[in-house]
Structure formats: structure tokens, C-alpha cells
Symmetry: C2
């Protein structure tokens, strides 16, 4: 029997980061009765009215009526391989113009298998192993950290504040040694930090990018959760010099099971051997052809049908969801106040973000996977240890609570269990 | 305006391999009226009876009836994130037992975004940049070459014969210098070589793997096209010592637009920090969590529904398709005989494979992208230059013809145009 030594496998597989993702899933699976503050998943109520067959039909009719395809040719689009760049780029470009103030041509877009593939492709295009640094907010989404680890890209963490990443620290890091090629940031309600960049900080970040010659990789997953009237422009809408690669997903406002996301990469790449300039999106599509070939056409067609059903904008469904998540977040913060009282055990405190899915809780002890196991087994409540979100290894005394997936009663019961765990279980 | 220098991007983007994939697609797009021998895509007639909504319903009923899920919980499986490992592993394990003689547990499987993602994950798990070599049949599928290029894995080509790769050459390469960690091979009707390994060669390859301590990455995309009674066992069915990582796809027998493939990786990985042994499949799933998170659940559900509709086996639909592709291949070979005559122009010759989608034509001149452009513009016929399939850079005087996508009349007309091009256009 052939055994493989772990030391013979790629280094990322010995990294606690990738290991913990698997372990977390495994713990979840073993405690199905626990209340879980772990998944950053949409609330299941929003799946009730998804009519897959109806959306497929709507997209087919669009191909026939608006794009002039014969019914047979339209139908084939669903079943055949398609271009690596994507099928619904025109609809997504239109959406970005309407909903985000981003003006981009369909050719500057690549439709990806979720935001995750967009991150991987962007990092691969921009980096050669062992060369430049990737700067990230510290803490950051595990997906960007994992993709960087998988591609052997060294990461430098920039401390996250309530106003997003500390831009003075970023400016300093740019002159501290190795070149920073790109900076990953979620300007609105970052997962897991919960910070939100002011408009002034957004402008300053773009100036820094210009001054220090780096690209900004913008992740706009949680922007839609802003309270009405509190929306702020995405970085890409402020970007006058093509410094921003903009990544988005349909997982939160449509549904995750389609695995459809996108990346806007309108940067020009000079002197390509194929003749003349091309766009960074062309290079991302070329890389995609050796990662997943293309994003499942049937999944793209469902998302296309949802866009068409909403008149090309997702503002209305996004608003409906934002209301739910604002309520859940408020409810979670109130429940923590109620159950942990005005003066919780020393060292226990939490942040109060204005949007997004997540609350961070600081503990007086290290938050390990063993502690999670105990919380699940003895107190019936699950959450996410924060250490995996920190490239610097800081944050090992924090846990993340997600409120998106639960109902009010579950949040109350979960907060009560969490309070019991924090008061008796540490 | 920020420009990116191509020299600042990852080296794979300067490689003719990735560039040519994009250029090929672009040429195809510019000559929609040309007859195309280029795409290795299934014949469109097989899309006529795909009932997406029906297959989704069938999979949902299976979750309710056979797996005991409540209707709501079953429905959520389609719309939520799912495990990186996959949703339909049990159905695929059952399929492999019935149709391929592969006995594997569902846990040793990962459901991937086509065979392409399976290749990328496998290579990433097994390789560290700049370290071991990947051996491949020469020529090989561009997808494995592209994935290796994207991950900076050095490749050594092993000449392909009618009996598959030259195993003496492989044995020699194993002792020639740098370690060969894995060998990629499509034992049946390889794309583009068309070779097929004898049963004896299959056994010998497994012995070599044992002797020289490498893994075999088996790609079984075209095995189903064997003539009735001419089937040969896949390497994984002969594998007694877990030397084979087996990759498959539902693109050719179901449909490409689902983008669903899989990998069997039942190798044990010793001493994992998560405690005890685990399987290589666990590591592939961990990597998948930072590449695509999971394979679109709605796409997996459609494939699951097709498997259920066929009683857990794809033998019947595979047979129906094999008949069509055998007829197309025979038709193409006869048309070449007819149009190019018994003594074609000096230096023009082609192989006569027994299965698969592809015929290789040798030309007396270099087969460049410029030549393809001329063939399309002046003679109305498209094909694929072979140089991109050769890691050694050999094969630059060959082109590949695919017969899978065309009808008999199109094959006749295309062969006539190709003959005109070969006789007047070189």
C-alpha cells in the first residue's frame, strides 16, 4: 500500500490555515444539533422563491429575443462548453453600472466559480512565487489567505481599524523592503473584521496605490448590507486610473449553490505577443482555461435569469436581504448585551459593526480548535476561531460569530449558550 | 492610466501554451461559417433530451426517499454552499463500481469543476515549485500542460506510441536525474495522440510506478468510446497498491455545461496534524476550498439526477454516444481517403485510431497559427495546431482534427475543404 508523507505534499497542506477549514467542517458535521454561529451563509428563507427552471427559461428567451439566437442555438449555450470569459458578461456589466456605478465593458469581466476563483486567478496573474508581497487587511477573509498560501505568495498584514485597514501602516509597508504588488481589501463590513472605510480613506487608498504602484484587489461581498442611505461608493467606482481589480459574488444576494462570481480587470497589458495591448481580464480568462475551463453555463444561465427577472438590477432583492441581516445583527448584539450583562467576565468584549454578517468576540484565553470542540460538545454552540483569519498569527484570543443564517429565536438561544460557555466553560 | 507590463505577470501568461488557447477561441469566433474540426465537444444531438428541471426533481426525491431528508432540507442542498468534497460522491462511487470496476469509498472522491480542476488540485497537492518533475505522454492534453505551467511544475515528455506512452523511455527518465513524482496518462484514445495502452502495458506501468515510486494520474475521458467488446480495464481497476489517482468527467457522456468531474484519491497520507492518517482526497478537498470552495450544487444535482435516471450506471448513454463517435471517426477517415486520394501530397499523412474523438495529420510544413488563420479565411475549415500539445516542442508539423461535434455531411464537406487547403494552400 502506497502511503504519502505529508512532507511530500505541497506546503499549504501543512499550514494550519487549510487544515483548520477541513477541521471546522468536520466539527460542524459532528454536532448537527448545536446552534451554529459559524457559517457566513445566506438565510435559508431566501431560497424559497428561487425557481431554477423559470430562470433558465427566462435566460433562454433573452438569448432568442435580445440576442437573436435560434431556439436550438440558445439551448445549446446551456449544455456546451462556453468561453472561459463567461456567458453573462453583458448582463453583469449592466448590473455593475446600475447598482455600483462601475462602468466597464463586458470584455473587462470574467465570470468565475464564485469570488474565490476570481481571487485565485488574480493572484496567479500578478505573482511569481517567492517574488513580491501581497498586502492584506489583518484580519482578512480566509479565502484570500488560502489562495495566497496555495500559490506560495508571501503576505504582509495591515492592521484593520473601524475605518478599515490602517493606511499609514500600509504606506510604511510599501517602503519597508520587498515590493507590495497588490493590496486585498473589503472596504465594506469586511469578513471577519467588520470595519468599513470612510469615503476619504477610499480616496486616500487610491492615491497610495498610485504613489507606490500597487493594484487594489477589492472584494465587495458585503457592501449590500449597508443601511438605507448609508451606502458608500465602491473603490472601483472611484478608480480613475485602473488601479482596482473588483471582485464580486452572486452568493449572498442570489444564492451560493450556483457558484457564480465575477472579476472586473480592465487594466491594460502592454505588448502582448498575440498582437497589441490586451486587458488583464484576457489573462485571467487564459488562466481560467487551465483551472476550471469555464463557469458552469447552466449556473450562469440561472443567475442571468435572476438578473433579467429583476430588470437588470439587484437593488430590490439586495435591500430585502439587507433588512434581514441588519435585524439579525442588531438582534445578536442585543442578545449578547442581555446574556453577558453590562459587565461580562474580564477580558470578554466584542465589536459593534454597522453591517455585514459578523461580530468579533475577544476572550481572555487562547481560542483553539479544542475550545471549539468543547463549546460544541458541552454547550451546544458553534463559532469560528479567529486565528485563521490573521496572517500575522495575532487574533488567537478571538472568535467570530455570524448572524446571517439564523432566526431570531436561534440567535437568542445561541447567545444564551454562548454566555454559559463564556462564563463557565473557559 | 495604469498599464501592466506582461513581464510583470506570471510566466505562464508569456507561454505560447496559454496564449494559443485564447487565440484559437478568437479565430473560431471570427469564422463562424467555417467548418470546425477543432472542438473536442460532444455532438449537440445529445443535448436534445436533457431535462434539467426533471433531473433536479429526481435528485431531490432521492435525497428525501433514500437519504431521509425533509423536503425543505433537500431543497436547501441545491442552493446552499456544500462540502468541498462534493454532494454526489455516493452516486459517483456507485457508478465507478458498476461501470469501471473501481471500488472506492465516497470519502476517497472529490467532485470537481470538470476534470480540469481535478488535475490542478492533484498537481498542487503533489508538487512544490521548482522541485520534482511531472512526466506526461508527449503529446498530451493541453489542460494538464497548462495546469503544470500555471503551478511552475517542470514537465518531461514521454513519447506516445500506438500502445500509449513508451514505457522504456519512462523507466529511463525515472533514473535520469530529477525525481519524477507523478506520470499523467490517458490510457484509452488519448487526446490528441489517439494511442491506447494494451492490458500488458497497463500492468507494466503499475509495476514501474511501484519500482520508481511515482503516482499515476489517470485521465479516463475517452475510455467510453471503445467499440463493444473492446473495452480494457482502467488503470485504477488494476491498481492494488493505491498508485493511481483516477480522474473522470461527466462532460462527454452527460454534458459539458454542468462542469462536473471527479477525482479518486484513496492514497493514505500519514501523520496528519489533524490526527492520524487521512486520504489524499482530504487534501484535495482542502485545496479545493481555496480554488472554487465547492462544485456548484445545482450542477451536481443535475448530474446526480441523470445518474439516478439511468439506474446508477451510464453504460447505456455511453454506448449510444460511442456508436455515434465511432461512426464519425470512420466517416472522417474515409473522407480523408476519398478527398486526399491513395497518394496524397508528399509529407501529408495521418493516423487511424480505433476510438476517441481525434485524428492527427502530419504536414510537410510548420503548422502555425498563421496557417490556421489562412485555412479558415481562404478554405473555410478550422482545426487545432498540435504544437501546443507537445511539452518538447515537437509536433509543430501536425494538426488535430476532431470529429465529435459534426454531422456526416459536415465531415464530408470539411474533409473536401481540408483537402483543398492541403493541396493548394500550403
Amino acid at each position: 500500500m502506497t502511503g504519502q508523507r505529508l512532507t511530500d505534499l505541497h506546503g499549504s497542506l501543512r499550514d494550519p490555515l487549510l487544515g483548520s477549514i477541513g477541521f471546522l467542517n468536520e466539527v460542524m458535521g459532528r454536532y448537527p444539533e448545536a446552534i451554529s454561529f459559524a457559517p457566513g451563509a445566506p438565510h435559508p428563507e431566501f431560497y424559497d422563491d428561487v425557481d431554477v427552471a423559470g430562470h433558465l427559461d427566462r435566460y433562454l428567451r433573452h438569448l432568442e429575443t435580445d440576442r437573436g439566437l435560434a431556439p436550438d442555438a440558445a439551448r445549446r449555450r446551456l449544455f456546451e462548453y462556453g468561453p472561459s470569459r463567461g456567458l453573462i458578461n453583458d448582463l453583469v456589466a449592466d448590473l455593475l453600472r446600475r447598482d455600483a456605478g462601475i462602468h466597464t465593458l463586458p470584455e473587462a469581466l470574467v465570470i468565475t466559480v464564485g469570488a474565490q476563483e476570481a481571487m485565485l486567478l488574480t493572484l496567479r496573474a500578478l505573482y511569481t512565487p517567492g517574488d513580491d508581497l501581497l498586502a492584506v487587511a489583518d484580519p482578512s477573509f480566509v479565502g484570500i489567505l488560502g489562495a495566497a498560501r496555495m500559490l506560495d505568495i508571501p503576505v504582509v498584514g495591515i492592521e484593520e481599524t473601524a475605518d478599515g485597514p490602517d493606511l499609514d501602516a500600509l504606506a510604511k509597508a510599501c517602503t519597508a523592503g520587498r515590493r507590495i504588488r497588490a493590496f486585498y481589501v473589503a472596504p465594506d463590513f469586511a469578513n471577519p473584521g467588520g470595519g468599513r472605510m470612510s469615503v476619504a480613506s477610499r480616496h486616500r487608498l487610491l492615491e497610495l496605490a498610485e504613489e507606490h504602484d500597487f493594484l487594489v484587489i477589492e472584494d465587495n461581498t458585503y457592501g449590500f448590507t449597508a443601511a438605507p442611505g448609508q451606502e458608500r461608493p465602491v473603490l472601483k467606482a472611484l478608480d480613475r486610473s485602473r488601479r482596482v481589480v473588483h471582485i464580486g459574488t452572486f452568493a449572498k444576494v442570489c444564492f451560493p449553490g450556483a457558484r457564480v462570481g465575477f472579476v472586473v480587470a480592465d487594466q491594460r497589458v502592454a505588448a502582448h505577443p498575440s498582437g497589441g495591448d490586451r486587458l488583464l481580464a484576457d489573462d485571467l480568462a487564459a488562466l481560467k482555461s487551465v483551472v476550471t475551463v469555464n463557469t458552469a453555463p447552466i449556473a450562469q444561465a440561472v443567475i442571468g435569469g435572476i438578473l433579467l427577472a429583476n430588470g437588470g438590477s439587484l437593488a430590490v432583492p439586495a435591500r430585502r436581504r439587507a433588512v434581514r441581516y441588519q435585524q439579525n445583527l442588531d438582534h445578536l448584539l442585543r442578545a449578547l448585551d442581555t446574556w453577558l450583562g453590562p459587565s461580562p467576565r474580564a477580558g470578554v468584549r466584542w465589536n459593534r459593526p454597522d453591517g455585514g454578517f459578523f461580530v468579533r468576540v475577544h476572550l481572555p484565553v487562547p481560542v483553539t480548535l479544542a475550545l471549539l470542540e468543547r463549546s460544541a460538545a458541552e454547550f451546544g454552540v458553534l463559532w469560528t476561531p479567529m486565528a485563521q483569519f490573521y496572517p500575522t498569527g495575532a487574533g488567537d484570543r478571538q472568535l467570530r460569530l455570524s448572524c446571517s443564517y439564523l432566526d431570531a429565536e436561534q440567535i437568542d438561544e445561541g447567545a444564551a449558550r454562548l454566555a454559559a460557555f463564556l462564563q463557565e466553560g473557559l
